[in-house]
């Protein structure tokens, strides 16, 4: 058994710093590289891409990234674990094998985790007794079934562990929990068991700290953010994990950013609910048990973590089409910038009303004044305001109404208040609204499948 392993975060979401994984594999020693690409919205985007071309539906950054790092990770024996397979992990693996062949890599084993995609099984599952009721509203899924774009179960760490046991160098999954990507190598390397709940919770919490990339190493830090050194070359976090469940959050030497009690604590409280009950497919972690010790020099020890048995359910995330929306902006300058923007909004709303257009919601915000803190924004003296961006957004079921809204924006320049600009991008087009249907499914209904592909 290894005495410790170093697991590095390479992406916090699809769209994160492109070169972060390259820096993680070149600027110091690591054993595993974790790439988290999936947000809820990502699954529906990928499913739409797959609908148009059945070879697509995965994070297309992966093959290009691999072209750059494959020679490095195969030499250094760094394993890569990613959920960027999206709704088409097999095609992702094939694309990767093609790249590997092109650059002359030999003896590469790719583990693919399948079985999370239940979109085509919904009828069978519902007939079989899986209700898939909305966790928030308790409504039956029949209400939206015809409009469903994607439906995926969140798997945990164990299917990845199986792939590692089968010798995989790279593991590509569909919808796997972000935390499972980090937990899996710990289970595999340290021989943790399915009922080692404290250990599984420790690995899960390490995953929570890594899953948003540099958000735990100085990015988006709300403390003394100006004290964070060299954010331009920010180092992404690394978990140095030990068999007893303790781990140290750190980053490579000579990188920017900061790992401190504060930067790690901010990530720990990010997007959590009840801290005593952080539910994953592998365990229920207790965030109130976490102890942090700032060791200095960008090293924070995390220890004493407790946890409880997993639940009998997997979480399911379905996305469905729910009408259209459109967003328009115009910028008004000094003097009386806010008054002008408010007048333009009133004129626009009157015209929309005269046209009898039906919307589910119209929302107006004044960027530069209240678009982030709403009613908490201090009332400003117009003399102090240089400019205001009027931002109007609409949402509704009627495509034509949303499209017509887009045609009412540019006319405000010649038929509304003066000193207005910022309409260079053409008419705003309606975009489809994708809504989410969170549900639970008893674990017996779905089985993860691990497939091995070799070069």
């Amino acid at each position: 058994m290894k005495e410790k392993i170093r697991i590095a975060a390479g992406q916090g979401f699809w769209g994160d710093l492109i070169d972060a994984p390259y820096h993680q594999v070149t600027k110091g020693h690591i054993d595993y590289l974790i790439l988290d690409y999936l947000a809820e919205v990502t699954m529906s985007i990928l499913q739409k891409q797959k609908n148009k071309n059945h070879e697509l539906g995965y994070a297309k950054d992966i093959p290009e990234l691999m072209r750059k790092i494959l020679p490095i990770i195969t030499t250094k024996k760094i394993k890569v674990i990613t959920n960027g397979g999206g709704v088409n992990p097999i095609s992702c693996a094939n694309a990767l094998l093609k790249v590997a062949k092109e650059i002359g890599i030999k003896n590469l084993k790719i583990g693919v985790v399948l079985g999370d995609d239940i979109k085509d099984r919904l009828d069978e599952l519902i007939t079989g007794g899986a209700e898939l009721k909305n966790m928030e509203t308790d409504k039956p899924i029949a209400a939206v079934k015809e409009k469903i774009v994607s439906a995926n179960v969140y798997f945990g760490a164990f299917p990845i562990v199986e792939a590692l046991e089968k010798g995989a160098d790279i593991i590509i999954t569909g919808r796997t929990t972000d935390t499972g990507l980090t937990l899996a190598p710990m289970i595999y390397e340290f021989g943790w068991k399915v009922n080692d709940y404290d250990l599984l919770s420790a690995g899960t919490i390490a995953g929570h700290i890594l899953e948003c990339g540099a958000q735990s190493s100085g990015g988006n830090f709300l403390g003394d953010w100006q004290s964070i050194p060299d954010m331009a070359e920010i180092g992404f976090p690394i978990a140095e994990a030990f068999p007893n469940g303790e781990f140290i959050i750190t980053k490579h030497l000579n990188t920017g950013g900061l790992v401190s009690f504060e930067t790690v604590a901010e990530q720990l409280v990010y997007e959590i609910g009840d801290p005593k009950s952080y539910i994953t497919p592998d365990c229920v972690a207790d965030f109130t048990s976490i102890k942090l010790a700032d060791l200095g020099n960008d090293r924070v020890k995390v220890f004493d973590i407790k946890g409880f048995p997993e639940t009998e359910f997997y979480k399911v995330s379905c996305s469905y089409e729910d009408g259209y929306s459109s967003v328009a902006t115009l910028t008004y300058s000094y003097p009386q910038a806010l008054t002008k923007a408010k007048a333009a909004d009133e004129i626009l709303r009157k015209r929309l009303s005269n046209l009898n257009l039906q919307f589910d919601e119209i929302r107006t915000e004044f960027v530069g004044y209240n678009s982030t803190h709403g009613p908490l924004s201090k009332i400003l003296d117009e003399e102090d305001i240089n400019e205001i961006m009027l931002r109007v957004a609409v949402r509704g079921k009627d495509y034509n109404a949303i499209e017509r809204f887009g045609k009412e924006i540019a006319p405000l320049i010649l038929t509304g208040p003066p000193s207005v600009t910022g309409f260079a991008g053409g008419r705003p087009k309606p975009s489809q609204v994708i809504a989410y249907w969170p549900a639970l499914i008893p674990k017996k209904f779905v089985k993860p499948i691990v497939k091995m592909l070799e070069l």
Binding site: E40, V41, E136, Q215, N220, F221, L222, G223, E262, A265, E266, Q267, L268, V269, Y270, E271, I272, G273, D274, P275, K276, F287, T288, S289, I290, K291, L292, D322, S325, V327, E361, R363, E365, V367, S371, T372, H373, G374, P375, L376, R391, A393, V394, R395, V433, I434, A435, Y436, P438
Partner: protein, 103 residues
């Protein structure tokens, strides 16, 4: 004496569906006692009048000198349904840190 919450604490916020999560972390244990006493569910709900239209849940993490709040019905539907410029509630931690506290 009045202080700003940002003098004694920092934090981070994000989305959980249509709910916003706001984690507030005190810089030291004295600060934690102040936030524990002052950041009640009622006060947080009142602070976010016109932003939070649901109930507020509060959780304590004394080990991190932190409180976690869930503000329900706050993000205009959440995800891509929301028309808000800040649809994910990313700026709401700094909105809570504007609060003034009597100490």
């Amino acid at each position: 004496m009045k202080i700003k919450l940002s003098d004694i604490a920092h934090g981070r916020s994000g989305d959980k569906g249509d709910a916003a999560n706001i984690g507030i972390i005190a810089y030291d244990s004295a600060g934690y006692e102040i936030i524990k006493q002052n950041l009640t569910v009622e006060k947080v709900k009142e602070h976010f009048e016109g932003i939070c239209f649901g109930n507020v849940e509060r959780f304590e993490l004394p080990n991190l000198l932190a409180l976690n709040f869930l503000l329900h019905n706050t993000l205009g539907g959440g995800g891509t349904v929301s028309l808000k410029h800040d649809a994910q509630g990313k700026t709401l931690a700094s909105a809570l840190l504007r609060m003034e506290i009597e100490v």
